[in-house]
Amino acid sequence: MGAHSDNGAEGPFVLAVPSKGRLQEAAAAFFARAGLELVQGRGVRDYRGAIAGVAGVEVAYVSSAEIVGQLAAGVAHFGVAGEDLVREKVPDVEARFELLSPLGFGHANIVVAAPRAWIDVRTMADLDDVASAYRARRGERMRVATKYVNLTRRFFAEHGVADYRIVESLGATEGAPASGSAELIVDITTTGATLAANALKPLDDGVILRSQATLIASLTAPWGPNTRSAARDILARIAASEEALESREVRARLPSPAHLAVEAAYERFGAVSATGEDVDPHGFLALHCARDKVAELAGWLLEKGAERVSVAALEQTFDARNALYEALEKRIRPDSV
């Protein structure tokens, strides 16, 4: 870390995103919504790119598993990865990463699933019981097929289940019980349809992780002035579009000066003045309010004497406070400046 800042030649800010498939498209769409257009190099086979209009940022197109590795190694500053991979591959996630923002796509659960025929097994406590009886009866441990070795071990330990063996499975895990290579599985599932098709059922309390694609910052990457500034810029835009997506602008004119109404609207509906503290003495009012509170707020304004209330969608809302970046900056060690 010292080397690049000593000679003043700070490396670029590296954003690692999935290199193919639906995840790549979804990630590109997420950044585009924040006004960050990912520009891939000359062709689709070029694995380096940039963000239009943001200098000093290099976009690296890599596989999902590699993204986690690059973040852990500090080669990438930001990356988009499923929380499942992050929790599986990195032993001390909280110390190495800042999970900045869930991205709203790539939803899937990692679950413990047993054969449907095990009608006496519904919970992890049942499984514990059955596993130790299985071992006492056969002298062998029950086998769990999974590619999530670490998540499985941690979850089973939390539930006090000890009499099992992990069989590492790198594909088609759900077929393991039918083929006789394992008794149960831990796998990722979106709808549960694959489990059902293989005569498996998830246990009632067997959800290990509710995962989705997440924007992650590496705390071990080299953070110099330029990379920090790039991070601040990217996060400001993401926050602006995220908040805009969840908010509506509500405008009305009240018969009396509006400052009391602004305070009351904040207390009742969490709405804030669209332009900060400045309040119009003639009763004009523009508020930003969470989408699901808009109707209530509008009703309340009509009650207060407004003749007409207009509601509009927002493109982006920039705030002087950049909460996402502030959270990150607290965690980047000052000595890596």
Binding site: D92, P115, W118, D120, T123, E140, M142, R165, I166, A199
Partner: protein, 384 residues
């Protein structure tokens, strides 16, 4: 000029070179006739995972061979020495080994390599004498290596089994008690388990209350047929039926009678030096009409051998609830820490593991007892 002081000759230097802590301990084992052995460092990971469970996986240094078989660096010596013994022409016969070398365990913030020394005794029929010898030799060796006396704690899995047997505790509860006690849980925690899924199926259980195995199996098969489930993975319909029967039998009232539980409680709270404990155990056996027979005799004989070898019985602490969390330990268990060492972590651990040989593929049980010393947990850090 001729020097006024004789320069040491090379042979003097060799003979004066101080023995390391590990070598001092090993010397003690060698002098007692335990032949030094050095088993392989690389082993199939499955051996350790099968014996100790997946929890040890995070401690293993794993790798794979060309065929993809998972291998690991040995995390301890007992299983490697036992495997080497079983593969040798001495398998099944008396053989006594000592060792000194590195073991490999992944630990956050630590090196991953530790030096262990220890001894393993196989095939001896005089179990109590062998127990006493391994116990006292290992404590003496740790003192020779580390300088100070260790504080020892002992237990006896054989006594615990005898109590469970004599109280006629139902099999599923024996399983839970063994495991719960080994993990240091109290009886309240063991018996007050979170309610289980099957208990939420009172209809099934009520239908099974007076059923036998065949009746229960038929019911389970019917249930599976009604649900349209054809394949039964891993467990047979009979096994599922047996578990329902077990649940049905445990459903009404307390898991075990209050009197039996009181006896278990009294047994598990017995502690003190081994002589005091023996008196308390005899007292409990008489008052509760427990048949502890040969297990209690063995306990007293062993204490006698330990005393005969010059150890101070009053310095040893017995605890009936001290059971090791590995099911191949079948009798005497012990551990010791150096009170002078920072953190006073367990520096010496051992016990009787007659069940290990069979678990490693032997056709029959082989009597075995052993102990290991982790040198850097002694007060002098094993001369670190």
């Amino acid at each position: 000029m001729t020097p006024t002081v004789d320069a040491p000759t090379p042979t003097d230097i060799v003979s004066q070179a101080p023995r390391s802590a590990g070598e001092r301990a090993l010397d003690h084992f060698l002098a007692a006739g335990f032949e030094r052995t050095e088993p392989p460092i690389l082993h199939p990971a499955a051996v350790f995972l099968d014996m100790s469970g997946e929890e040890v996986r995070r401690r293993l240094f794993l790798t794979a061979d060309a065929t993809g078989q998972e291998l690991c660096l040995r995390p301890e010596y007992t299983i490697p020495v036992c495997r080497a013994y079983l593969a040798s022409d001495k398998a099944g016969w008396v053989a006594e080994y000592s060792y000194l070398g590195p073991v490999f365990r992944a630990r956050a913030g630590q090196g991953g390599e530790q030096t262990q020394t220890g001894l393993e005794s196989f095939g001896r029929k005089d179990a109590e004498a062998a127990d006493a010898e391994v116990f006292t030799l290992s404590l003496e060796a740790a003192t020779a290596a580390g300088g100070g006396a260790l504080a020892a704690r002992v237990g006896d899995a054989g006594l615990f089994e005898a109590v469970l047997e004599s109280l006629e505790i139902p099999t599923p509860w024996r399983r839970r008690l063994r495991r719960g006690v080994a993990r240091g849980r109290g009886l309240d925690a063991i018996f007050n388990r979170p309610s289980q899924g099957a208990l939420a199926q009172p209809g099934v259980l009520a239908a099974l209350e007076s059923a036998d195995h065949a009746g229960a199996k038929a019911l389970v098969e019917d249930l599976l047929a009604i649900a349209g489930i054809e394949t039964v993975g891993g467990r047979s319909a009979g096994e599922i039926a047996d578990r329902f029967l077990e649940q049905a039998s445990l459903r009404s009232g307390e898991p075990i009678e209050a009197e039996k539980r009181a006896v278990l409680d009294a047994f598990l709270s017995i502690s003190g030096d081994p002589d005091q404990a023996a008196v308390a155990l005899r007292g409990l056996a008489d008052s509760a009409k427990l048949d502890l027979g040969s297990a209690l005799d063995a306990f007293e004989v062993r204490t006698g051998f330990i005393a005969a070898r010059g150890a101070r019985i009053e310095d040893i602490r017995f605890s009936a609830a001290f059971v090791r969390d590995f099911d191949y330990y079948t009798g005497f268990v012990f551990e010791a820490h150096d009170p002078e060492a920072p953190g006073a972590r367990t520096a010496l651990a051992g016990g009787r593991y007659d069940g290990l040989a069979r678990r490693l593929g032997s056709a029959r049980d082989v009597p075995a007892v052993g102990a290991a010393i982790t040198l850097d947990r002694l007060a002098n850090g094993g001369d670190r």
